[in-house]
């Protein structure tokens, strides 16, 4: 019994020692491969030696702590679909002077429209975005409205119209310009651009107090400059930009 007991003891001991050695080496290697990192000016005073022990204890405990859930929500994130195989055109307001459109036209819809036209004409017809100003057209009928054409590449799927006017109603159509005229494929819902100045409409029951109407010009003012007094908060607690709203350090 005694030899086997000693034999057992030595086995346990050697296993324990091996495990301890492995842990120690793992820690040392971890420590060695860790760079010193960027060293910057200290906030004040020297770095007291006694804190190093606590620091090592903190790190050691962190490294030996079981790591839970190593995957993030965005590991292996699939890209968004390039197409939805749906016919869509949407017009969105950006500002009194800018509107934005995106669209998708399905191959099937293109074929359906194309078959009504001579193939040679269709294949060579340029792609066009036709922006209608339907403001003065109560029925919002594009056919009766002034328009502006933008020739685009077939691969383009969005566009900014940056020279539109405030308080106007617009519709955009995507189509192709055939010898016989414009053939629309998609027509958007109308949008109305915002006002960029006080309304000319006066309610006789509420006549404006004249001196209160010019507040924008007495302030840093007018809509184009409103950015000067909007929120300076750009993101949250993020070190990406050391030049802050009020600090110009670095």
């Amino acid at each position: 019994m005694i030899p086997s007991f000693f034999g057992g003891f030595s086995l346990v001991t050697s296993l324990l020692m091996t495990a301890a050695l492995a842990l120690l080496m793992a820690w040392m290697f971890q420590d060695a491969r860790r760079g010193t990192g960027p060293t910057r000016k200290k906030a004040g005073g020297n770095h007291p030696e006694q804190t190093r022990n606590q620091e090592a204890w903190q790190e050691f405990s962190t490294e030996l702590a079981p790591q839970i859930g190593q995957s993030r929500f965005d590991n292996n994130l699939a890209p968004l679909p390039g197409k939805y195989e749906k016919d869509t055109i949407v017009l969105l307001v950006r500002s009194p002077h800018s509107i934005y459109s995106y669209w998708e036209v399905s191959p099937q819809h293109q074929r359906d429209v194309a078959q009504k036209h001579p193939p040679a004409d269709w294949q060579n017809a340029p792609w066009v975005l036709r922006l209608y100003d339907t403001t003065d057209n109560p029925a919002a009928d594009p056919a009766l409205s002034p328009y502006h054409d933008v020739f685009i590449a077939e691969t383009v799927d969005n566009w900014n119209f940056n020279q539109v006017f405030p308080s106007r109603k617009y519709i955009v159509a995507l189509g192709r310009l055939l010898p016989g005229g414009f053939v629309p494929l998609l027509i958007s819902a109308p949008v109305i651009t915002p006002a960029a100045s006080p309304s000319a409409l006066i309610d006789p029951n509420w006549p404006p107090l004249v001196t209160l109407q010019d507040i924008l010009s007495s302030c840093p003012g007018k809509t184009g400059e409103i950015s000067g007094i909007t929120s300076p908060v750009a993101g949250w607690g993020l070190p990406a930009s050391p030049a802050g709203a009020w600090s110009h350090d670095e």
């Binding site: 004040g44 993030r72 929500f73 994130l77 939805y84 969105l92 009194p96 302030c219 840093p220 600090s247």
Partner: protein, 536 residues
């Protein structure tokens, strides 16, 4: 009784939903923890001081449904508890480290005291339930709390699907009632973004008012009699209040705003960046990414200098008091001038700010706010603090008008949230909303797993619609995170859509995982996406 002029502070407290149960080391969760420590707890202390001293004051506070969901979440509470405990540990090390340096030693002690107080307040005073503390302040009349759209959706850009806009409002109102036990009196539109017709949806939920930027009112149709200094009433019976430009400029302006004063604490000098890597390593990100620890020892000194001087709290406190007096002095002159013109009606000055400005970006912000309220009687006893709903009670006759489409973002409209960097989002957001609406109409009486899947799809859609993602992408800060959050939630919408349209098997394990990950709005009912939306 007529006062000389009315001032309505509106503080907008919002953070996107950044709860990540899968790992503990998401930097983004620190946004909440930093805000609790630096903003919400200090503001609570200020508000409770007013209650204790029975000051005749009331301010409006927006609490976003995503923020409420995180504040109420046990996991986030537990993680905050660890966060603040770590800070108190770091405070002990900092006291040792700075013991020989008189310029910094006092600050280290100050931080220890503040972080210990924060920990004690969170754990022992509030028992981790900050919402209850805010609710009690509302019951005491100190606060008028309002929601914002469910996930801070930027409504003018969700407009192609009015039902999606209505869901943002409906879920917000429902969440508010869950936490505050009453109907919200009004709403804060995310980024003050308004479009004509939105008021019809707000009216459906009995919301009494919203806030626009100044030009939302000044460019209203017909032209407003009182300019910015009175609300207008939309045809739907929802009042619109405009942000005052002068008081905004005094706080927000990059060039002359109070927070840029040299005596205030410098945000961008933090020991997380300044000290030896090995020293701060246990307190930064496990991957060695340096971050803001909250220990900041310098004052702004001068905006353009790199040679920052040590922070002197007494100077900063004195400056906050001085600036508060200056703010009131300017309001006093403003309303004196306006009284000469308006006569028949008290001028109303609406002062909206991000709540997180107070304490986080502007460390002394809560002190400033406290001083504004407490010095008012001394500077001008004719001023009175009010809220939009109190104003509406006092002045039921409001000029009818339709505000101008607008936001408080740069340039005043929507181009921050729709530009070359983030425009790609919207075709996917609109498609996902269309699918949600279609499924809701197709499954009017769904039960069991199908119902759970539909409810979860609604949560994922709402989360994808957070205006924060487009904003972060535009401002080039945590871009990858914002892009990934958008793609992640949109992908989840597509996945559930495929499950519910027989393109993939409906998998309970997957739905359960998504429910655990995005666990906000537990009472959400997907059928909100098949409710009719009022157009008039």
């Amino acid at each position: 009784m007529m006062s000389k002029g009315l001032i309505a502070f509106v503080l907008h407290a919002h953070l996107p939903f950044v709860r990540h149960p899968d790992k503990e080391d998401y930097l983004e969760e620190r946004w909440l923890f930093e805000a609790i420590t630096e903003c919400y707890l200090p503001l609570l202390q200020v508000f409770e001081g007013w209650r204790q001293d029975r000051l005749p004051v009331t301010v409006t506070l927006t609490m976003s449904p995503t923020l409420l969901s995180m504040l109420a979440d046990p996991l986030m509470q537990t993680r905050y508890s660890k966060f603040i405990a770590d800070l108190t540990l770091l405070a002990e090390l900092e006291i040792e480290r700075t013991s020989g340096d008189p310029a910094f030693s006092g600050l280290a002690h100050l931080y220890r005291e503040r972080f210990n107080n924060a920990r004690q307040a969170f754990e022992e005073k509030y028992h981790r339930d900050l919402i209850k503390a805010f609710r009690e302040l509302q019951q005491a009349g100190i606060l008028e709390i309002i929601p914002c759209p469910a996930t801070h959706g930027y409504l003018p850009l969700l407009r192609p699907q009015p039902t999606a806009v209505a869901a943002q409002i409906g879920v917000a109102v429902h969440t508010y009632q869950r936490y505050f036990g009453q109907k919200p009196p009004g709403i804060w539109l995310a980024e003050c973004a308004y479009y004509p017709g939105l008021e019809n949806i707000l009216a459906k939920y009995d919301l009494g008012y919203f806030i626009t930027d100044a030009h939302g009112i000044l460019f209203a149709t017909p032209r407003p009699r009182y300019g910015l200094y009175a609300p207008v009433m939309t045809p739907a019976g929802v009042a619109a209040f405009g942000r005052d430009l002068e008081s905004s400029k005094q706080v927000w302006s990059n060039d002359e705003g109070y927070p840029g004063d040299g005596d205030y604490r410098e945000y961008y000098r933090d020991i997380g960046y300044d000290l030896d890597f090995e020293y701060v390593r246990p307190f930064i990100h496990p991957d060695g990414i340096r971050l803001h620890t909250g220990f900041k020892y310098y004052r702004i000194t001068h905006r353009k200098t790199k040679d920052k001087q040590p922070y002197v709290p007494a100077w900063a406190e004195a400056k906050a008091a001085l600036h508060a007096g200056n703010f009131l002095f300017n309001r006093s002159h403003q309303v004196t001038y306006l009284n000469q013109i308006m006569g028949e009606r008290e001028p109303l000055i609406i002062c909206p700010y991000d709540a997180e400005l107070f304490g986080h970006w502007w460390y002394e912000g809560p002190l400033f706010l406290n001083q504004v309220i407490r010095q008012q009687v001394q500077v001008d006893p004719g001023l009175q603090f009010t809220t939009p709903s109190r104003y509406l009670q006092k002045y039921p006759l409001i000029q009818p008008a339709i505000p101008c489409e607008s936001s408080w973002g740069a340039n005043g409209y929507h181009d921050v949230w729709l530009d070359g960097s983030n425009h790609w989002l919207y075709r996917h957001l609109h498609r996902a909303a269309k699918r949600m609406i279609r499924l809701s109409r197709d499954h009017t009486g769904a039960g069991g797993l199908t119902r759970r899947a539909l409810n979860q799809m609604a949560r994922e859609l709402l989360l994808a619609q957070s205006s924060d993602w487009a904003f972060i992408i535009k401002t080039d800060t945590a871009v990858q995170y914002a892009v990934n959050r958008s793609v992640y939630h949109l992908n989840n919408c597509s996945l559930i859509y495929q499950m519910l349209t027989d393109q993939k098997p409906l998998n309970e394990t997957v739905i359960a995982e998504l429910e655990e990950y995005a666990n906000l709005f537990p009472d959400l009912d997907y059928r909100i996406y098949s409710e009719p939306v009022p157009t008039q």
